[in-house]
Symmetry: C2
Subunit: 330 residues, 2 copies
């Protein structure tokens, strides 16, 4: 595995879309009159919660594995590290390719994510989120097993796969006759954000793209402001388990720095309120990390009035206890 | 209001679809590889949970009110009786038409349904489900206020509106190249079932249509077997609050008797398991009454292996406590 040199371009995203056709869901772009009335905007929701494995991560994992298999040295097995959504995406894509998968996951990952990874046939190796370096654990495992390491975001094929979300948003909004003013995207390491920003820059260049992060993990927002990669404070905590990257990816930030209009952040109470809103009014199950972009719109972190805004719900893999607590807190 | 004489036909359903265009959502027809693997079937999910007001009922209410307004005596106000989904559908459609709405609801209806009806501007009159006749209360109110009574299912315009669900299923399945073997539909008074059966008989005549009811409220299933309308036992209880009609509608049963392949029933534990499955694997919020058709497939009430089956999720208006209890029981 050589280090990635260049980010993908729109041709790479279109190639990813072609690979994914018939394997990943083309998730719909949905609207609710009540949401429009509440926000004063026209809000289009892209529910990647409905994607295979319950999050967008299947797209990048599938594209990466398919790319490797088309290459000169197709792998016999794959290794990944992930808090749970990339884990399930890699497990599912590996199983479809007939490859063994070993996934390094934090011991405190949601039970639904660990179970979902195992249910898709992967071997799960747990590590201590606060004491071990997951990349080092995964790299050692990959070397030991002669397996390909599927990185969660800092890889051009993974970014291109996630970019198909933005490609679909551009096409679906155009089909509705909607010129998008802004797209808001949940952001951890920045792969989904970078992929969507690349797709939208090519397909809908007037659209402003924003990352949305949990407060305390707003490394991309602060890095955008500083124009260099900054890390989060080590003591930060959030229930958005999918978005706890400690700093922006190198490749993803190179894209996001160039293409994003800005970075937003929401606190956990605002995210829980968005999860409850999605339950009550959209009838969608959204995990904490998947709900931050909706939370930004509902909490007024950006002025949407009179605008056309697309919001990505990036995942729905949440344990019942966490979900029900979010419903009760509001 | 004269009593309805004849059921609608496919032309009435197409006319309803034209009225609804731009006002109701065309809900997607969704698939999950995991659901197919579990059932051995190809299962297409029609989530009317994503419809305006959170259930299919908006379709029939909107079509009825639009039809009345096109007629010789457009109403100044409307009255309806409903356990909550028709209530919200009528409230929303009336508000869009600028009409006052009074809705007669059982005092023990889910809080989310009573609040949703009031939030849409309707006046709510509560009655005791076990001591008062809701039709009599509503008819007296309609006479007193000079308002049009919007019946929940035994009305050809309401049935035609609900039939647009079946019309969309036929069109969306055809677009996917899927020949549907069966469609399973949650059934209370039978309006959604009759409307869909009429649409599918015209658009996909080889498809077998089944009603699905809660055990103890399987009046349509027993009436189909007996070839005459039978009532439920008065002491029956179920948490499927949307499906507690005491007997099939006259007009709806005339259609369903002719067109249905059969009637299925599921108990509340099977329905709760389906709600939990939808949470965990489909990331959709489904209310008890909305989950019975999915429950029938998951519980093996019909042999789906190797078949193409569409399942309607008819509504998602459920209180958090009821929802979270269903997740915990499984």
């Amino acid at each position: 595995m050589s280090a990635p040199a260049a980010p993908p371009d729109i041709a790479d995203i279109e190639a990813a879309a072609a690979r994914l056709a018939g394997h990943a869901a083309v998730t719909p772009l949905l609207e609710w009159a009540e949401l429009d009335a509440r926000t004063g905007a026209r809000v289009l929701i892209k529910p990647e919660t409905l994607q295979r494995t319950g999050s967008f991560k299947f797209r990048g994992a599938f594209n990466k594995i398919a790319s490797l298999r088309e290459g000169p040295r197709p792998p016999g097995a794959v290794v990944a590290y992930s808090s749970g959504n990339h884990a399930q995406g890699v497990a599912a894509a590996a199983a479809m390719a007939g490859l063994a998968a070993v996934i390094v996951m934090p011991a405190d990952a949601p039970a639904i994510k660990i179970a979902g990874t195992r249910a898709r046939g992967a071997e799960v190796v747990l590590y201590d989120r606060y004491r071990e370096e997951r990349e080092a654990v995964a790299e050692a495992l990959a070397a030991e097993r002669g397996a390909a390491l599927i990185r969660p975001y800092d890889d051009p094929d993974v970014i291109a796969g996630q970019g198909t979300v933005g490609d679909e948003i551009a096409g679906q909004a155009a089909a509705l006759g909607v010129a998008l003013d802004a797209v808001l995207i949940p952001c951890g390491g920045g792969g989904l954000t970078a992929g969507c920003a690349l797709a939208l820059a090519a397909r809908s260049p007037a659209t402003r793209v924003y990352s949305v992060e949990p407060a305390g993990f707003d490394d991309t927002a602060r890095s955008l402001a500083a124009q260099r990669r900054l890390a989060n404070e080590p003591g930060a905590r959030s229930f958005c388990d999918a978005l706890l990257a400690d700093r922006p990816g190198e490749l993803t930030f190179a894209v996001n720095r160039r293409l994003l209009a800005g970075g937003l952040a929401v606190d956990d109470a605002e995210t829980a309120a968005a999860m409850a809103y999605a339950f009550r009014s959209l009838k969608l199950v959204v995990e904490p990390g998947g709900a931050v972009a909706l939370a930004a719109v509902l909490a007024g972190k950006i002025d949407c009035r009179g605008r056309n805004v697309a919001v990505v719900l990036s995942g729905g893999n949440v344990d019942p206890v966490t979900f029900c607590r979010a419903l009760q807190d509001v």
